[in-house]
């Protein structure tokens, strides 16, 4: 299986940039050879004078389309996870296409051909490229006004778990191989049509080149034979519910694959799964692929509900987990899905032997009802499992609280917004100040809880965020239901207390949380209503969320990023701890190559309260450290507390897309003596 730079998320690495340069070289070479360094030749297609554009474009399209289908067919690549696919926005593309066409015939160029034109000395290409730059700047300047247009008319199709990703064969309701054959015939038809058109336009028929015709015949035959071969051989593959809309070909059967099936290595016994889940192993995720109604009625505690069509995306997002155990009532659907995922290169997907039925029979059936005698140890274990797995109340559909769509959550909310909406939107307020501060006065209805309640020792590492199942229980006790809008309130400059609780919401996938900008100090200063009474008691049923999250990284992943230089590692501890002058840990210093920006630099205090610095200032400061909003960033501090604040700033205020959190942080890194460290101040002065 080929792993691409895109699939490995390393398109920004030096290797990828070099590869892009080289591919660009051949791209330029092909365009120039085709005669696309000439605007007259390019524009010729619009006057039926020179049809080279049609010939080259369709030959390239069909060559690449057949090529991709072929490498997928032989199992060389998993296109879903390894090749970037753009969603279809019909409205945007129709408007853009029409404008583009007008620009094309006016100028005789498009961006790629103009680069080649300039390289071969065409001055009009240079002017066109200047225009292209100006047009791009126009787009940027108009963007706030036309942002909606960019995603206008999104396709209703959804493929590979990506909404709007539409395949033409699905749109037409035919098979992929069938479309390729049709497409090949259309292309060949275009070629012969183009030749006819050109012959009519050119008076001097002596110019007709016989070699060209021979090539055309060979190319036409080659394309049709290749498409026919694909059409015939694609019949072998079994359609799979999970990927029916994508129709990814996957007729590959490797030896290991068959061996695994033969030796049932792809199976996990019910007892094994029960033990792993009961033991709280966060690397194991039980995935319930049944319909949501059945999931709601009963599911294995801690399991997540993923419908088959969403499975490829889910698995891609959780590819670093140790085990993903698929289950349904029986085994047919999980087994089919697992086979397909295995072909796509995922090696961490398993199926539950005998499905949910088997799980109930083996692990949850009361000892008294069993026909075979059980040992006392086994009986005790079954009782413990029953207590654990059956304790989950069935999910109740949370009464949907009203939602204000005008604010972006997670994010900051203002005192004005909160005081105006807290009753209307039934906002749940969490006060994370000291309890005595809370007792004196708090926002009416707020519940008090320390951010420390959300973390503890896990696998020997002190102070890491608790597993999602425990967090969900805490949310239930706090009377927070799924879908509630939650506002976190801090005091002084302790924004990090609010952001740490924010991480708890992140882990359970609860996005409707905000932080009160200015905190309690601002609320009090503005003389908004407070109370010293406790809120009305209540309890909610927070459903069991997925046990895993996609943003927490461990020391292994951090170590990999450090070695391969695939992420910006951002240490947010005070500079003295970063350099190693001060230390409270096993070793002093920092992760080699890490950058330092103390979390406190993101906060200002004025007029008696603290909040985050203005966005522009933060944007500039982080742009110095992180190449782009798509760069992978790993934030860490000593215990994950301070880093939670930087995580919030980067992810929710500044819009960095790939922010990871090394929760165990320096506490763990320093104590693992096999990991390298570095001391001294950073070369880059980042604390400005």
């Amino acid at each position: 299986m080929i792993k691409t730079f895109y699939g490995l998320e390393t398109l920004d690495s030096t290797g990828a940039l070099f590869a892009a340069l080289l591919i660009g070289f051949f791209f330029g070479l092909a365009l120039e050879r085709a005669g696309f360094g000439s605007s007259r030749r390019l524009a010729g297609v619009f006057y039926f004078r020179d049809m080279a554009v049609v010939k080259v474009m369709f030959t390239a399209l069909i060559t690449a389309a057949l090529g991709v289908a072929f490498v997928e067919q032989i199992g060389l690549i998993d296109a879903a996870s390894q090749i970037y696919h753009m969603p279809s926005y019909y409205g945007a593309y129709i408007i853009a296409g029409l404008i583009f066409g007008v620009g094309f015939v006016m100028s005789g160029w498009c961006p790629g051909t103009a680069a080649v034109g300039l390289a071969s000395g065409k001055l009009d290409a240079l002017i066109f490229l200047v225009g292209g730059v100006i047009g791009s700047v126009f787009f940027n300047e108009l963007f706030p006004l036309i942002k909606w247009l960019q995603t206008w008319g999104q396709s209703s199709q959804s493929s590979f778990g990506i909404p709007g990703l539409a395949f033409i064969y699905t749109s037409l309701g035919i098979t992929k191989a069938g479309f390729l054959l049709l497409f090949s015939l259309i292309a060949v038809g275009f070629f012969w049509g183009s030749e006819l058109i050109e012959r009519r336009k050119i008076v001097d028929k002596e110019k007709t080149d016989p070699i060209n015709h021979q090539t055309l015949q060979t190319v036409s035959a080659g394309i049709i034979i290749a498409a026919l071969a694909l059409f015939i051989f694609s019949g072998e593959k079994m359609p799979l519910e999970a990927t029916r809309s994508t129709d990814s070909s996957g007729a590959v059967t490797t030896e290991t694959f068959l061996q695994q099936i033969e030796t049932a290595e792809d199976h996990v016994a019910p007892e094994t799964l029960a033990e792993l889940l009961y033991g709280g192993d966060v690397g194991v995720v039980a995935v319930d692929v049944r319909p949501p109604e059945e999931f709601t009625a009963f599911h294995i505690r801690g399991a997540v509900n993923v419908v088959l069509s969403e499975l490829p995306r889910f698995v891609q997002e959780h590819k670093h987990k140790k085990m993903l155990v698929l289950y349904s009532n029986g085994m047919t659907h999980p087994a089919q899905a697992r086979d397909e995922l295995f072909r796509r290169g995922y090696r961490n997907v398993y199926i539950l032997t005998d499905g949910l039925i088997g799980f109930r029979e083996e692990c949850l059936k009361p000892v008294s009802l069993r026909s075979l005698p059980t040992t006392p140890e086994k009986a005790a274990q079954i009782r413990a499992w029953r207590d654990y797995f059956l304790a989950v109340p069935p999910l109740t559909q949370a009464a949907a609280a009203p939602v204000d769509e005008s604010i972006t959550l997670p994010g900051l909310v203002t005192t004005d917004w909160l005081s105006g909406n807290m009753l209307k939107l039934k906002i749940k307020i969490i006060d994370c100040r000291d309890q005595n501060e809370y007792n004196r006065a708090h926002i009416t209805g707020a519940v008090a809880i320390s951010c420390e309640s959300f973390r503890g020792a896990v696998n020997g590492v002190p102070s890491v965020l608790l597993p999602a199942s425990l967090l969900a229980e805490k949310m239930s006790l706090l009377n927070i239901a799924r879908g509630d809008t939650v506002v976190l309130v801090y005091s002084g400059d302790r924004l990090r207390d609010a952001t740490l609780i924010g991480m708890a919401f992140e882990r359970i996938g609860h996005n409707r949380y905000g932080i009160l900008a200015g905190g309690m100090d601002k609320w009090v200063k503005e003389q908004l209503p407070t109370s010293s009474l406790l809120p009305k008691a209540g309890q909610a049923d927070y459903p069991m969320p997925p046990t895993a999250d996609a943003f927490t990284v461990d020391w292994r992943q951090t170590d990999d990023h450090m070695k391969q230089n695939t992420a910006v590692i951002l240490d947010v501890r005070p500079p003295a701890y970063f350099s190693g002058e001060k230390s409270d840990e096993a070793r002093a210093g920092h992760i080699p190559g890490a950058l330092n920006r103390e979390y406190k630099n993101d906060i200002y205090t004025a007029e008696g309260f603290s909040s985050f610095k203005p966005l522009l200032e933060l944007t500039k400061a982080y742009a110095e450290l992180i190449p782009s909003k798509n760069s992978l960033v790993v934030v860490h501090c000593r215990t994950g507390h301070q880093a939670s604040q930087t995580f919030f700033v980067l992810k929710h205020l500044l819009g960095y897309k790939r922010v990871k959190w090394y929760d165990a942080g320096w506490t763990e890194w320093a104590a693992r003596i096999e990991l390298p460290i570095e001391t001294g101040s950073p070369a880059l002065n980042t604390n400005r």
Binding site: A20, G24, F27, V45, T59, V102, N212
Partner: protein, 173 residues
């Protein structure tokens, strides 16, 4: 019928050039995991230039701002440079290098430059709206059989044929 350029060797067979282009695209899918692209490189250069002139404004703008302080460290910028080098190499080795302005005999250089500039602006804008140009959207997405990309390709031809009549003098002798 292979059109002869005034200088240098005749262009390659379009079908063979198309196969070379298709193979390059396939290679790009297999190595990079993404197709070819030219307009993104151009837009990144635009972001860089705007950033040089108005650093604060550019960084805080929604679209270019997302590319950070160094918009040029992006694979499609490198690909754009590669296109230029590849084009140069091919033109040079086939003796097709010549400093000139391409136009029909009846058109003036000034008019040709004006339309090249206006066309460039339209193409630059439309490429951002579509998230790619003839390479990044039409060719790449078309080869992946994406419906939107093929719709975009068809609309380019509609737009082009729709107004071709008004620009004929620019090209005809």
């Amino acid at each position: 019928m292979i059109p002869m350029d005034n200088h240098g060797k005749q262009y390659g067979n379009p079908y063979l050039a198309g196969i070379l282009l298709g193979m390059t695209l396939l290679l790009s899918f297999l190595i990079l995991g993404a197709g070819l692209g030219a307009s993104a490189g151009l837009a990144r250069i635009a972001a860089f230039l705007e950033g040089v002139l108005f650093p604060d404004h550019t960084l805080s703008s929604q679209y270019f701002g997302a590319w950070g302080k160094t918009p040029l460290s992006y694979y499609l910028v490198y690909m754009f440079c590669g296109i230029f080098v590849g084009g140069f190499f091919s033109a040079f080795s086939n003796g097709r290098m010549q400093l000139k302005v391409e136009k029909g005999k009846k058109s003036s250089v000034g008019r040709r430059f004006l339309w090249a500039l206006v066309g460039g602006i339209l193409v630059g804008f439309a490429s951002r709206l579509a998230g790619g140009c003839t390479s990044g959207q039409a060719l790449t997405g078309g080869a992946l059989l994406l419906t939107g990309s093929l719709v975009f390709l068809i609309c380019i031809f509609f737009g082009g044929y729709g107004v071709a009549y008004f620009f004929r003098r620019q090209w005809h002798d």
